[in-house]
Symmetry: C2
Subunit: 191 residues, 2 copies
């Protein structure tokens, strides 16, 4: 598993081989069955996750009892409830495996020790989080700007992999549609 993380790190920065060899003990390998929770809303969030294999969604329970999906993550993505992770507070989101999922998880305290030992990794996380934040700026623009139909077409064009792997009811929730409306749109654009 660690090889995949090392390959991802190598895309962003260089760390000395001896330090790379010492990375593994800081991470915990975890596997989750389809529909199993990595993180439960309301519980303390101690970890962030690097997805080695699989796909998850980030969601929360709405006041009406239904579940709202706000994000997905798949291979080579980092995911967590980052506010809860950095503040050590109760999670405001759940994270659930959509498929059988394998992750490398790291706690905040392990990460502190890791970054003391391999400070070069700050360059990796700097790039990863700047990129994630950049994408979130664009996402906010789309949320303000796009009609529901445009949102769907944008998602289809830019994230074709998700539309193959993510169940339609989760995609509908993410896009803010009812499953029926998504089904109508699919028919319209497939025909």
């Amino acid at each position: 598993m660690i090889q995949q993380l090392l390959a991802h790190i190598a895309q962003f920065c260089t760390i000395p081989a001896d330090k790379a060899a010492g990375l593994e003990p800081f991470f915990v390998q975890k596997e989750f069955k389809k529909k199993e929770l990595l993180l439960t809303e309301g519980h303390r969030c101690f970890e962030k996750y690097f997805i080695v294999k699989g796909c998850v969604h980030l969601c929360y329970l709405k006041q009406n009892g239904s579940e709202q999906t706000i994000d997905f993550a798949l291979e080579n993505w980092w995911t967590s409830d980052f506010m809860a992770y950095q503040q050590g507070t109760a999670a405001r989101f759940s994270i659930r495996a959509i498929e059988h999922t394998e992750v490398l998880s790291i706690s905040d305290s392990s990460q502190r020790k890791l970054l003391e030992q391999v400070p070069e990794l700050n360059a990796y996380f700097h790039r990863v989080f700047q990129r994630a934040y950049a994408a979130s700026q664009m996402r906010v623009r789309y949320l303000y700007d796009f009609s529901k139909e445009q949102l769907y077409l944008h998602f289809l064009a830019h994230y074709p992999e998700f539309t193959q792997r993510v169940p339609q009811y989760l995609l509908a929730s993410f896009l803010g549609f009812t499953p029926e409306y998504l089904s109508e749109l699919r028919k319209k654009f497939l025909s």
Copy 2:
């Protein structure tokens, strides 16, 4: 100006005094009058900005010709169109001074040289961008979850400084309201 950035950096990480003393030449000090643009949508985005004094808003032109504000930034915040900044592409947002604003700007190429010389700053940017991304996860939740009235009350409770400094028409745009609707809400909750 650099003292304020150094003080902000010190909140997140420690850099040796001799390196801290060498930081200034990597940044360009800039001043913008009220309503002056730091960045223009459609132009290449070469810089990111650390706000030393003042307040700016991030916006774009909608298809109907009106302007949509999607974010604000004030003292000690970093702002840019980060997607355009990191990809060297045309900006999808404009950034405009709401007040007389003083910034330290840094180009991507200067930042590369800076981080080679002071790699400790990656720890600073790692923390800054993880925090910004964490806030954006919560923001997406609010955009999905809150009614317009709840959005307004949340903003009022969590960002009282903005409501003092930001013109009402920009606040209305940010919240997705018409200025008239914001005016009604203000009356309702002030009375």
